[in-house]
């Protein structure tokens, strides 16, 4: 009986529940209530309906608001998802004036039933929008005004200088106006009960037709908030152009947008299109400099630019390569009359030619090989540097001859240059063959106001015919590439020229080389006899009069009086005095107080440069302790070399105690010779933008040296871009050197170590440390203009805290190991090395797609520990083995080659470091993550103690220093 009673109770209970379930699914939920309907103040086309509805997710899953017109027709419904808040809203766009009704409903996803509120009416008046008018000269003193149709306007009233005319269409034409008179035009949109006016437009009636101008920004490093324009006067075209943001008082730059480079630009561009079949042009404009980066980096500026093709609007991730002709203010560099000139930033002409779509698609190397970028400044005088507040009027003209880049200025003397010409309009018709774009441009760190813009169009059919292009003048690059000091009677004389010709050399009156043939770009070398003391060599090079450097070019000399080049095949005479002073013995001693009269003994030391000049292969120059202050820098010339098996050595008597302080010099130390060993020197305080130690020769060993507090990179291996690849430095070995606290004025270039731009194969950094340099620890940058460099090996090295100095100065934008640039593939090797606490990445490929990493550790860097990426669509050839990356700020970026994830690599995924199988490495797997300094062992290798040493010594991953 008991069981039976409970069973009955259970049935009753279930029946009760079933009864409840059969009632409304919304039981217990209040009906929605519309609490407010209003027009959004910020957008008068939107009607906002606020309502209360509980959405618990079980009975009510979402809300629905419906909008009906006066006839009860459903116009639109809006769904509102569930939320904890009872208050909800739905926004409707109203399309016309009218009486609307709204209702809010609750919806259950599993039921057809709805939970309805009450209908609520709302009276809406569609806003009458101010007509947006454009006004144009059609020529012949006729002005045409048009505007977009204004919804619900019955008609329009157009006011021309106060005289009203009713118009039922959306345009009007005024003919027979007074030429050069400025008219005031306003358009009123009229509805039966209200009206609204446009803004007033001023337009001058002119005989010529108006041109259409457009705005764009594109190219590397451009951004919407930095690259923009502001039209000041649409009638007499005037505008502001921006390429950067500044701080609140306008004294310093904040963010830059774009850049001018040799082959591609990132720019703000205001331009018009030219039909070269029917139009020649002359565009003149006056630029007032509102702002220019006070610390110029040479890529900022302004100008007038004609382009073969346009970049895609707003696209900054792709370099925009094109042919162009322009008058621009940016960095220019040339060698004039044998003197290298450089200026940033100054006005000049830049012509980029030789590019086609096929060449551009062939990549950076092909562009550098086939393209041509010619830059010529109007002046290198420092008074011509662009400054805030300056005003410049420049002209770019295209006629049947070609493109004229013109900068006329008052007080230009007879030697001044005010025009450069690119011959041949067709140079800018290689990519887009039927139009040319011409306009105003700014880039990177320059904001301007542009006024007095004048565009004259002429007819190619009636313009003067094309002028013949004069030959291109190629300056002679002729030199004796041998040192000024020598150590025995057999002097290795080396001569080079960029033209074929005949060479003769006299030593006083004796002919030592008689009329030998010399080929362009091939060194001529011969051992000639010299005598002790001064040998005055007279070197006569007679160019071959039939030599043509390339089609359309001739060899030229520089007229110093008239300050210009002229065609010349006249003999060139060079006087070179070679001093032969022998010093016996294996060792030459020098001291800060040594002199050229010294014997080179310990008691009677020489001065440093004398010892360098007159040392023989196999000899050692010992620098006694002390501070050396070479006022002219220290240069080991090309040809001043040891030999394999008989190197020349320049060493400190006690490592670290011979200090070369370049505080008073405009240059620092350069090694152009080969087979030298530089040992134990401290090099410091080089001038701004001057490297502490540059290695430009081959087979040199630099060991146990310190470079610090220099005005550019501490120790850099590089040659010169003016020489071919086979003359770039190779097979140099840098061992156990330390480079720190180097800083250039722009704070974007001074690294600890670099092997970049102009290096060949075989250069090695071993057991070196770079820390607290303003830019990177190591920089292996390559760029399109100079092309690929040789492979560099970095092993057993440490890079830490780069991006700011030891004092904390600097914005922290420094990588530990930056291993490439410009997407150029070079298989540099980084092995058994450590990067930690750097301001940016620990290890970055910097777009080199072929980097090899072996047993490296990257820890606690300020962005990624490891970043391997390339550029463009080329193959990715990365190799990574034994990578340990722990505690980065961002996850490592190896997304372009996910197969790098393996059991031998522990990449940091943002949360932890793990290999492909899921094994994890944590900070606790290291003996210590507290940096306590580094030591140089007796053998010169570097120890970090227990810092970042894995507890499990059997793990064959990471660096083991």
């Amino acid at each position: 009986m008991k069981i039976h009673r409970y069973f009955i109770l259970f049935i009753v209970l279930c029946s009760s529940l079933f009864t409840l379930a059969a009632e409304s699914v919304f039981e217990g939920i209040q009906n929605p209530v519309i609490t407010s309907i209003y027009v959004d103040e910020e957008n008068p086309l939107e009607i906002v309906v606020e309502f209360n509805l509980e959405t618990d997710g079980k009975k009510v899953n979402k809300g629905l608001v419906e909008m009906f017109d006066e006839n009860g027709k459903l116009i639109e419904s809006k769904t509102v998802g569930r939320s904890k808040k009872i208050e909800k809203k739905a926004v409707f766009e109203a399309k016309r004036t009218g009486e609307y009704t709204f209702i809010a409903k609750g919806i259950n996803n599993k039921s057809e039933e709805t939970l309805d509120g009450e209908f609520v009416s709302f009276s809406y008046t569609y806003p009458l929008f101010s007509p947006s008018i454009t006004v144009k000269n059609l020529g012949d003193n006729t002005i045409y005004a048009s505007w977009d149709s204004v919804k619900e306007a019955g008609y329009y009233l157009v006011s021309l200088d106060g005289k009203l005319k009713r118009v039922d269409s959306t345009d009007i034409t005024y003919t027979g106006l007074e030429e050069n008179k400025r008219y005031e035009i306003t358009v009123y949109a009229v509805r039966s009960y209200d009206d609204i006016s446009s803004s007033t437009i001023y337009k001058t009636a002119r005989a010529e037709e108006d041109r259409e101008w457009k705005f764009s920004f594109f190219g590397q490093s451009t951004k919407e908030d930095r690259n923009r324009i502001e039209i000041l006067d649409a009638d007499n075209l005037a505008l502001k152009m921006y390429s950067c943001t500044t701080n609140s008082d306008g004294s310093d730059i904040q963010d830059k947008g774009g850049k001018f480079t040799a082959f591609h630009d990132g720019i703000t561009y205001y331009y018009t299109e030219i039909d070269p079949e029917r139009e020649n042009f002359e565009l003149t404009a006056t630029f007032e400099i509102d702002f220019i980066n006070p610390i110029a980096d040479g890529q900022e500026g302004f100008g007038i630019l004609a382009m073969d093709s346009l970049g895609a609007f707003g696209v900054s991730g792709t370099n925009h390569y094109t042919n162009s002709a322009g008058v621009i203010a940016t960095k220019f560099e040339e060698t004039i009359g044998g003197n290298k000139k450089t200026s940033k930033d100054t006005l000049g002409a830049r012509f980029v030619t030789g590019l086609t779509e096929e060449i551009i698609s062939g990549g950076d190397s092909l562009i550098a090989e086939m393209g041509r970028s010619l830059g010529r400044a109007y002046s290198y005088d420092s008074s011509e540097l662009v400054k805030k507040g300056d005003v410049y009027t420049i002209t770019l003209k295209m006629d049947n001859t070609g493109f004229h880049a013109i900068y006329r200025r008052p007080n230009l003397d007879e030697f001044g240059i005010d025009e450069y010409i690119l011959y041949g309009k067709e140079e800018l018709l290689q990519i887009e063959k039927d139009k040319i774009y011409v306009g105003l441009a700014v880039a990177r760190g320059c904001n301007v106001t542009v006024r007095d813009i004048s565009l004259k169009i002429t007819n190619p059919l009636t313009d003067p015919p094309a002028e013949e292009e004069p030959p291109e003048y190629v300056p002679y690059d002729v030199k004796v590439d041998s040192p000024l000091g020598w150590y025995n009677e057999d002097y290795k004389f080396v001569f080079s020229s960029n033209a074929d010709g005949t060479l003769s050399v006299k030593n006083k009156k004796n002919l030592v080389i008689d009329s030998v043939k010399v080929k362009a770009f091939e060194d001529y070398s011969e051992t000639i006899a010299i005598k002790k003391g001064i040998n005055d060599l007279t070197v006569t090079f007679t160019p071959d009069s039939s030599f043509i450097p390339w089609e359309g070019a001739v060899m030229a000399s520089y007229d110093n009086i008239n300050k210009k080049y002229y065609e010349s095949y006249a003999p060139i005479v060079i006087s070179q005095s070679v001093i032969y002073v022998p010093y016996d013995g294996d060792t030459l001693y020098v001291s800060p107080k040594g002199s050229s009269l010294g014997k080179g003994t310990y008691e009677d030391p020489l001065d440093l440069m004398s010892a360098i000049h007159y040392s023989a292969p196999g000899q050692t120059i010992v620098l006694k302790d002390g501070v050396y202050t070479p006022y002219d820098g220290v240069k080991i010339e090309r040809g001043n070399s040891g030999k394999e098996g008989a190197v020349k050595t320049l060493k400190a008597e006690n490592r670290g105690k011979a200090i070369l302080d370049f505080s008073y010099a405009s240059s620092a130390m350069q090694v152009w010779g080969d087979w030298w060993v530089i040992d134990g020197l401290e090099i410091k305080n080089s001038a701004e933008n001057v490297k502490g130690l540059q290695i430009a020769g081959d087979y040199n060993v630099i060991q146990y040296c310190y470079t610090h507090h220099c005005g550019d990179t501490g120790l850099q291996i590089s040659g010169t871009s003016g020489e071919p690849y086979d003359k770039w430095p190779h097979h140099n070995y840098v061992f156990s050197c330390i480079s720190h606290d180097n800083k250039d004025p722009a704070e974007n270039n001074a690294d600890g170590f670099a092997a970049k731009l102009t290096v060949r194969e075989g250069n090695v950094f071993d057991s070196c440390v770079a820390y607290s340099n303003i830019d990177d620890g190591w920089d292996l940058f390559a760029k399109i203009e100079t092309g690929p460099i040789g492979e560099v090996t970095i092993k057993n090295c440490v890079a830490f805290k780069n991006g700011s100095l030891s004092t904390g100065i600097g914005n922290g934008d420094g990588n530990g190991f930056k291993l490439g640039g410009d997407g150029i593939a070079v298989a540099h090797v980084l092995e058994n090395s450590v990067a930690f606490d750097n301001g940016k990445s620990g290890i970055t490929s910097n777009s080199d797609p072929a980097i090899i990493l072996r047993n490296v550790t990257s820890f606690r860097n300020n962005t990624t520990n490891v970043s391997l990426y390339g550029k463009g669509d080329g193959s990715r050839l990365f190799v990574a083995e034994g990578v340990v990356s722990v505690d980065g700020y961002d996850a490592d970026d190896v997304s372009e080659m996910p197969e790098l994830e393996s059991d031998s690599n522990f990449f940091f995924n943002g949360g932890q470091s793990m290999n492909k199988s899921g094994a994890v490495l944590k900070e606790s797997d290291f003996e210590s993550t507290v940096y306590e300094g580094f030591e140089r062992r007796d053998d010169g290798t570097i120890s970090l103690g227990s810092f970042l040493r894995l507890k499990d010594s059997t793990l064959e991953v990471g660096a083991h220093l």
Partner: protein
């Protein structure tokens, strides 16, 4: 009395609801988040230069009928230090996330144990032209968990742990 108690217990059992960590974008206001901000026990963590954006968007309906009128934009890759969602969960609970990639490709949302750093799983965010994805993962242990994108932008609509 016993009968009444039994009836009452059954009633409670039928009508009781379970507790859960819950973050719906519909409960948020538009914002650019550059620090650690709490929303009812769930945190959205941004940083300068690594912000998270909450913004209004056209109503988007998930396959199960849930509708969302805003979205949480993880604007790029995140890590344990920035650009993630953080919540507490218990062993055995199911973490369910409504998500979609901001691009056309499928992207990965990592689920990481904050205390150990271990990644317990990856949730796929379907491409933006596909319906909102609803991805789930079982929580293996009590703790605090982080959700962040492994490389590019992902939009989050709802996070619920139950």
């Amino acid at each position: 009395m016993k009968k009444f108690a039994l009836f009452f217990i059954v009633l409670i059992s039928v009508f009781s609801l379970s507790a859960e960590a819950f973050l719906s974008v519909n409960d948020l206001e538009s914002a650019k988040i550059v620090e650690r901000v709490e929303f009812d026990g769930v945190f959205i963590v941004g940083a300068e230069g690594k912000h998270v954006t909450v913004e209004e968007a056209d109503a988007k309906e998930a396959p199960d009928g849930e509708v969302f009128n805003l979205r949480i934009k993880l604007e790029g890759s995140g890590s344990a230090k920035h650009r993630h969602i953080e919540l507490n969960a218990k062993k055995g609970e199911t973490l369910k996330v409504y998500l979609i990639s901001s691009g056309e490709d499928v992207r990965n949302l990592a689920v990481v144990n904050k205390d150990t750093g271990a990644e317990i799983g990856v949730l796929d965010a379907p491409g933006k032209n596909d319906p909102i994805g609803i991805a789930s993962i079982e929580i293996p242990a009590d703790g605090t968990y982080l959700l962040y994108s492994k490389n590019k932008g992902i939009n989050i609509y709802l996070v619920i742990c139950e």
